[in-house]
């Protein structure tokens, strides 16, 4: 069980912001932190890890106090039993894959887990490779395996999949889900990606204006946060049967627009509901 209540003044691009958050996370759960850039997601993760000191509040993990502002307790990151996956992976360039993963283990500790993690991450045949010779996806796997090797009380992931392409992302999500389950981890993931959050997490914490706006199951959260009229697109073609092809971000959908007089390059707003997809405004 992780419990925290934290206060911190953050200096963001838009000026000062008060971060004021508290939550309780059951052991074994997978929680995602969702919110706009600069909302304090990474800062919260760094405070949990001990890289950033909160102004006051507390952090308690499995009845051990990691931070208590009133009692002036602030455990060093070394003593917090965390696994942290950084956005830039932060792998050690002077070590190969196996050395990176086994770095956390003491000399007399069994290295069995290293082989198990190499196998699970599909890195067994790359164990002797230098970090510089790996692809982004492979580096991400090493970073994940390295963070798990000490079986941490909390696994903290700071947008770990943001730098890999969508195909690799899906594969890595699979690996992450498997690791979380197999090692019985409690995981907190910072992510912007709704698809990733729905696929991986039990709960989503929506961070906005320095507070948790909402704690919900991911599917329900994204369903509710979807409001009609939010999808806007441009008509790129009109077919003979009256259907229009609309470009929304980098995807295209086909909509029946025969009843409306629309032309190519018209901007349109689209709603999705059980009755189907329709244009509500142009």
């Amino acid at each position: 069980m992780i419990e925290f209540s934290l206060n911190k003044t953050l200096h963001t691009a838009e000026g000062e912001m008060q971060l004021n958050v508290s939550a309780r996370i059951e052991s074994g759960k997978f929680v995602s932190l969702y919110g706009a850039s600069g909302s304090g997601k990474t800062s919260l993760l760094r405070m949990l890890a001990g890289f950033m000191k909160p102004e006051n509040g507390y952090i308690k993990v499995n009845e051990t106090v990691w931070f208590d502002g009133a009692k002036k307790i602030n455990a060093e990151p070394q003593h917090r039993k965390i696994g942290f996956v950084f956005q830039d992976y932060a792998l050690f360039p002077n070590m190969n894959v196996r050395e990176n993963i086994s770095f956390a283990l003491k000399k007399n500790e069994s290295k069995e887990i290293v082989d198990e993690l190499l196998e699970l991450s599909g890195l067994s045949n790359l164990a002797a490779r230098k970090i510089q010779a790996l692809s982004g996806g492979q580096q991400q796997r090493v970073a994940l395996a390295r963070a798990i090797v000490k079986k941490p009380s909390v696994l903290l992931l700071d947008e770990p999949l943001s730098a890999v392409d969508s195909g690799m992302r899906a594969q890595l999500q699979g690996t992450l889900a498997e690791m979380h389950k197999r090692f019985g981890l409690t995981t907190i993931l910072v992510s912007h990606n709704s698809d990733e959050i729905i696929r991986l997490s039990d709960t989503v914490f929506h961070l906005g204006n320095g507070k948790f706006q909402q704690l919900a199951a991911p599917a329900a959260f994204f369903l509710h946060s979807f409001t009609p009229g939010t999808l806007t697109g441009t008509i790129v073609a009109i077919e003979d049967n009256g259907n229009a092809v609309v470009l929304i971000d980098d995807r295209m959908i086909r909509i029946d627009v025969s009843v409306k007089k629309l032309q190519i390059n018209d901007k349109v707003e689209i709603t999705c509901d059980p009755a189907g997809v329709s244009i509500i405004r142009s």
């Binding site: 990151p77 070394q78 003593h79 830039d88 932060a90 360039p93 002077n94 770095f103």
Partner: protein
């Protein structure tokens, strides 16, 4: 007959200075590369002083400090029976102070160029600050370490003003190659001056050549 004592003395002084400097500068550079505060800024300015001060100024103050007629020098002689002025020990201490920025600056900038997440990753894996420095940070700034070592060595070899002020010109004790050259020219022994100067020239060129070849090799390997 030319004597090679000054060359050996120069090498002894340069190796000794470089070794002491390396041991002192690594923790100092690591501390300086961390979060900034006013105290660190003051220390940084003090460390950099030999870059801008004439060597004779540093030599003069050290001469005063080491002199048995004054406080510190008197204390050393009375309590530890050590006289630093006009001795190899004094020369070594003066060289360490004089070459300090040449060792500290490259190591400090090497450490600052590493992403902070590298240090944090090692901490999150349970490693102490010392273990992190030795096993993660230093191995990833090898080119900076080598630059620091070579520059400090070469700078000590080329020392003149400080050595003359603190050590004087005592054959076999404090007469280094650069002072021997000056001495030989004063007495019109151009042949001897030429030999000493030639040896210093070859020594300096070789050390720099080794530095640049090594740095080229490590850059190709993708170190920071």
């Amino acid at each position: 007959m030319i004597k090679f004592d000054p060359i050996w003395l120069t090498l002894k002084l340069a190796f000794g200075t470089t070794l002491i400097l390396f041991i002192v500068a690594v923790p100092l550079a690591n501390w300086l590369s961390g979060k900034r505060n006013i105290f660190k800024t003051v220390i940084e300015a003090i460390v950099s002083m030999p870059l801008v001060l004439p060597p004779t100024v540093i030599g003069f103050y050290l001469l005063l400090a080491f002199s048995p007629a004054n406080g510190f020098g008197k204390w050393l002689e009375q309590w530890l029976n050590v006289r630093l002025v006009f001795s190899f020990g004094g020369l070594l201490i003066a060289s360490v102070i004089y070459s300090l920025p040449f060792m500290v600056h490259p190591i400090r900038s090497g450490l600052s160029s590493l992403p902070p997440s590298l240090k944090e990753a090692a901490y999150s894996l349970g490693k102490t600050k010392w273990q992190t420095l030795l096993k993660v940070l230093l191995p990833n700034i090898k080119p900076s370490l080598l630059t620091a070592i070579v520059l400090s060595f070469a700078h000590t070899v080329g020392e003149f003003g400080v050595v003359l002020m603190i050590g004087g010109n005592m054959p076999g004790k404090t007469r280094t190659a650069s002072i021997a050259i000056y001495d030989e020219v004063e007495t019109f022994n151009y042949y001897n001056a030429n030999v000493y100067a030639g040896i210093l020239l070859v020594l300096s060129f070789t050390t720099l050549l080794i530095l640049y070849s090594f740095n080229r090799k490590t850059q190709q390997q993708g170190f920071y």
